[in-house]
Point group: C2
């Protein structure tokens, strides 16, 4: 075994670990916490780490590409963010350590994060929301995702997603269209644009936003990595919105991690006839997800800013809204076309004649009824449905 | 004033009251409870009831059409159901009296119920669900309503609605299509088919189901009566489903009454882009309504039968589902086309060579990978998405 050489630095050791070990193993993270990354990398490279950790590392312990990886990152303008760096997402990582210590196996903190782009990670996630969902999104899901992402980005909220097709792509693209900032957390090396058809989008993200990955440059987007990656999306955002998801969907694993981390979990309702909304329906029914349909709803739920108050929702005001039951009944009893006498209106309304007359007078002042030769009919405005 | 004459019977007195007084006034209901309907009708007709109640009755106290109304009902095959009758919905009325005594002003019990049809009221509502919603329903809402109503009626659940256009119509019609039973609670006299275009439907309902009304024969469908009528729909059903509703909708008042009566309140999610689903979205967001999308969901929520258990929802099982993380990683690392050696698979999987070999052997037994001249590739079945 050639093993780890590095330059003795914490950063080199964590770069080495990012290639040698798959992230998401609590035992490894805890061991690094207690022994330090330099020591653990050296032990693993020498085959002298505790047996269980050594097995996690496996055959990759014999390789040392850490300087090559740091160089590869540098060539594409990327960097490795590690604990202690100003932009390290300390709050999110602390929540992950608490949750995983409490048994949330899917919330193990990252050892390091490869980052590519002009944004500073900790600043970008200060106000941030994750929008996730199906790759095979429908036109409905794509459109709603765009509206929400555009609205959030326009209010200086960072949109976090996974850089994939469908909902992810719509979220990133709409955030950029709003001149906002977006973060894509990838399941492959930071130097790869995957999927390839999203290359332009991912490159655009790097201008003011960030691409993130826990895997070393060149790493392939293997399926299990997407699930591990999802916890980072959940941890870096104030809340996770599942825009569209089948019953079985990676987006729901992101939501599960968000819940374990105590973050707000939201789902966009869709047609109950759409398989692509089945996952959201299930979240609403069984997982107490909050139903959201707009950026305002999401802002209100995540509380990313104290000033983002939602105005009270109600339908349009109609004539007679503020009437008491008697006045309402009298108004109902007044004909629309042929004026009627007070007596006959009283019978229809089920009220006494004096009460009816008083009510009619009040309704006349409100311009809801009018007199016509001593008889009454509704004003035009009072007859709308 | 000619006043109340009747025949001295409880039924005649309640028939008289149904024309003389608008239902839904707690004071009147409580007075009838304490004094008896015959005595209260006589007092009102003589103008000697307590002032507040006399005013509720108003000019209508001077009319006596009670025998005419009973005859009119008889001519269309209808009857007046009153407390003490075998089919009086005693349980629902008891809930209404409790709720209204506790301050739920919209839940005042009925004094009597005009009924037209072959069904026995108390039997029909033993297993019953209300499906309500917008008159201006969309194709989506109509279709989902039909599916739910058809599913409920096919399981011997009575579908209750309001006999109107849109969602109401779809609910009744689909219940009939399933050879099920349905009840329409009207806001006009039992002898009127309103709206007229629903006349055939309403007549069809009377065969095995019921038309219900608290208003005397001939009564007009005035707007405030729809709101009063809604509480009966809520009270007679185990739960209320709002299928489609704008933010401002009578269906939401039915849901509010159902909540006050301790019944299950459900809403069907729809596109967040649809104004006709805004009311449902609001109910999900602000009123803790349960999201439902199928008859099964509704059955489960209302518990109309102990045997109506919902099977566990999950997506289709995929190859490798039951694998532990190591086996899953190894499976991911096995190529689809060109077979690879164990060593190189171990490097990609991040596992030791012995662990990788053991995993490959297990995967081979599960027919997920196959050997080819000492190298490995995925079986066809394992490569599906």
């Amino acid at each position: 075994m050639s093993g780890y050489v590095g330059d003795g630095s914490e950063r080199a050791a964590r770069a080495w670990l990012s290639r040698a070990c798959e992230p998401g193993e609590y035992a490894l993270w805890a061991y690094v916490e207690s022994q330090g990354a330099v020591e653990v990398a050296a032990q693993l490279a020498a085959g002298q780490a505790p047996r269980r950790l050594q097995r996690l590392c496996g055959a990759r312990a014999g390789e040392d590409h850490c300087q090559r990886d740091l160089d590869a990152a540098h060539r594409v303008g990327a960097r490795l963010i590690i604990p202690g760096d100003a932009e390290w997402p300390a709050d999110g990582v602390r929540l992950m350590s608490i949750a995983s210590a409490a048994g949330a196996d899917g919330c193990v903190p990252p050892l390091s994060i490869w980052a590519r782009g002009g944004g500073r990670l900790s600043a970008l996630i200060d106000r941030s929301v994750a929008l996730v969902g199906a790759r095979a999104a429908t036109a409905y899901g794509t459109s709603v995702c765009e509206q929400i992402a555009y609205g959030l980005a326009g209010r200086d909220v960072t949109v976090i997603s996974g850089g994939a097709f469908g909902i992810d792509r719509a979220a990133h693209a709409a955030a950029l269209a709003a001149n906002g900032v977006t973060i894509a957390a990838l399941a492959c090396g930071i130097d790869r644009f995957y999927p390839k058809s999203n290359a332009n989008l991912l490159e655009h993200i790097t201008v003011d936003g960030l691409l993130l990955s826990e895997w070393a440059p060149g790493a392939a987007p293997m399926r299990h990595r997407f699930l591990v990656r999802n916890r980072l999306i959940a941890a870096l955002s104030s809340g996770t919105v599942v825009v569209e998801a089948a019953l079985r969907s990676g987006a729901r694993s992101t939501a599960a991690r968000a819940r374990e981390l105590g973050k707000v979990v939201m789902a966009v309702p869709g047609p109950v006839t759409s398989a692509m909304s089945d996952g959201c329906l299930h979240m609403l029914r069984e997982e107490a997800a909050l139903a959201v349909g707009s950026a305002e709803h999401v802002m209100e739920a995540t509380g990313v800013s104290g000033v983002d108050m939602l105005p009270l929702e109600r339908g349009p005001l109609r004539p007679g809204d503020d009437l008491d039951p008697l006045h309402r009944r009298v108004l109902e009893a007044v004909p629309t076309r042929r004026p009627a006498a007070t007596d006959s209106i009283a019978v229809v309304a089920g009220a006494s004649v004096p009460d009816t007359l008083r009510a009619l007078t009040m309704l006349e002042l409100s311009e809801l009824v009018e007199q016509y030769e001593g008889r009454w009919r509704k004003c035009r405005v009072a007859t709308s449905p």
